[in-house]
Amino acid sequence: MSDARLSVFKTYKLYVGGKFPRSESGRVYEVTDPKNNWLANAPLSSRKDARDAVVAARKAFGGWSGATAYNRGQVLYRVAEMLEGRREQFVREVAEAEGLSKSKAAAVVDAAIDRWVWYAGWTDKIAQVVGGANPVAGPFFNLSSPEPTGVVAVLAPQDSSFLGLVSVLAPVIATGNTAVVIASEKAPLPALSLAEVLATSDVPGGVVNILSGRPSEIAPSLAAHQDVNAIDLAGADEELAKELEIAAADNLKRVLRPQTVDFTQTPGIERLTAFLETKTVWHTTGALGASGSSY
């Protein structure tokens, strides 16, 4: 009897609308580690997968944006709990994907989980920070409240396959948007595994949709898609970013340009506010009394 056990290879699949389909095109591509050792085959998404993902994201938007901020916070915290439970798996996948030592990969995964918790805490606080009552010259209450933009296409960072991904994805959904994510082209496996975590936590299907493949192939149709409201170009190179920004102008998408970010640093709320719109409402308080106040 030999001790050698056959390896059980994992079939990585897309995550669209809470399900795990293969690419509509049936294509896959080989994913290797930085030393060119084969790791797995990942689906090579087509434009139609992107289209399906947008449909799923749009469908999920009403429920997710309508959920209370407190509830979204709980759901996101639950994701962090599930990530913690799968920590070993992510450490291994990140180490392989990015060519890191085990201890460095562990630090990256811990930072990513902490990042997720950090954003989970922001869901019911962002409105107080960027919204509020405005003093106006008239007998009105004037209130601004931040509202989610809608369906956001996210090009995840190419180099930081997990921490970078979490850092761009979590703020988008924390504020009530739904997301279509294009994972890092070279290292999509941690993102596809994150999908399994999302599917087994309480995130409704369609809130996050994850595609793997070539951004240069999928992203243009997302950027031109009339039913996508915003696009985060974090993972696009200069040339692609320019092309996408032009395509995105057609229906006045909100565009977050690529920028150099150190994902190990505390991010601040810039990404949280990038995909928010401010809604301002006026409520009459009645006529002002002789004293200049209606109270």
Binding site: R51, V54, R58, S221, A224, H225, Q226, D227, V228, D250
Partner: protein
């Protein structure tokens, strides 16, 4: 198909009595369920792209019976639907009009006014739609009411209870009576509610029964039950109209209704029509889609073909 069936002139004889009608309908060949579904599935795998797709989408738009059959229908909603039928895509006047709007009898007058002068027809469901559980007099009054209000087409439901109980002649007589009430001004569509007929054999029998009784169209379902139009039952009905014309020379239209929501589905049905009944049926005089949300998807696909960009629900009307 039925090589043993009586020749055209003999079809009149089969309705002489309940037993001759039963003998004829039960003499129709049984349906090969597995074969039927496999054929419907395989015809659904055709790839229709670029110019063929553009043609198919425009054809499908022109075949839509834009339908609103809700208890909550208001005159305003019917007028909005009529406007949409006349100009499906307000941003692109090259989009064809739909075939008809389909409403309840009391809304026919409103719908008629909304589509006046556009060539869009007004269809009305009648005969105690959707259950059909009413006395014949009531059903006929319902039909006359809709015809008097100006309906160009009447969608009647058969008495499924009688059909399933084997009282075929009763069903037949009812269709004949309704056809008579339609007069010469309105075409008659006969709804079988295939989801309630249980078997494919029953659907084939109902199709022949409806056609012998003088239906201008045979229609799958009301859209009010769990199982509506499927590729398989539509294929079966297309075979029936093809064979009926071969025997009698009379062409009858087909209308699948309910559950067809995407352009992809609609194009699959068009493939079924072309491959089964043939090109003569690829016209909105002989084939219709009973649908409401389908039109928006067709329009979005049309915009995608025109611009190269995926469109979204913000760019079509809400109904």
């Amino acid at each position: 198909m039925p090589t043993t069936a009586p020749p055209a002139h003999a079809l009149a004889d089969v309705t002489a009595s309940d037993s001759t009608l039963r003998r004829f309908l039960h003499g129709l060949p049984g349906v090969d369920t597995v074969g039927l579904e496999a054929r419907a599935t395989s015809l659904g795998t055709r790839s229709i792209k670029t110019t063929a797709k553009a043609y198919a989408i425009d054809l499908a738009i022109s075949m839509v019976d834009l339908t609103t059959l809700e208890g909550a229908d208001t005159p305003g909603k019917v007028r909005a639907l009529g406007a949409k039928a006349v100009h499906p895509d307000p941003t692109d006047r090259t989009a064809p009009t739909t075939a008809a709007v389909c409403v309840y009898p009391d809304m026919v007058a409103v719908a008629k006014e909304a589509v006046a002068g556009s060539g869009v027809k007004v269809a009305s469901v009648a005969t105690a739609f959707p259950a059909g559980r009413a006395a014949l007099d009531v059903k006929l009054a319902d039909v006359r009411d809709a015809v008097a209000a100006g309906a160009d087409e009447i969608d009647m439901v058969i008495d499924r209870g009688a059909f399933l109980a084997g009282k075929y002649l009763k069903v037949y007589d009812e269709i004949v009576a309704v056809k008579e009430a339609c007069g010469t001004s309105a075409r008659l569509k006969v709804i079988f509610e295939t989801g309630e007929l249980s078997t494919y054999d029953n659907i084939r029998r109902a199709s022949w029964l409806g056609m012998i009784a003088g239906a201008d169209f045979i229609k799958t379902s009301t859209g009010k039950v769990a199982v509506n139009a499927t590729p398989a039952n539509t294929l079966l009905m297309l075979e029936a109209v093809r064979d009926f014309r071969a025997q009698t020379g009379i062409q009858v239209g087909v209308k699948p209704a309910g559950g067809i929501r995407t352009s992809k589905d609609a194009i699959k049905f068009l493939v079924l029509v072309n491959e089964t009944a043939g090109q003569d049926w690829l016209d909105n005089h002989w084939f219709r889609f009973g649908a409401s949300s389908l039109l928006n998807d067709l329009l979005m696909q049309r915009q995608k073909l025109a611009t190269g960009r995926y469109s979204g629900p913000d760019y079509v009307t809400v109904d």
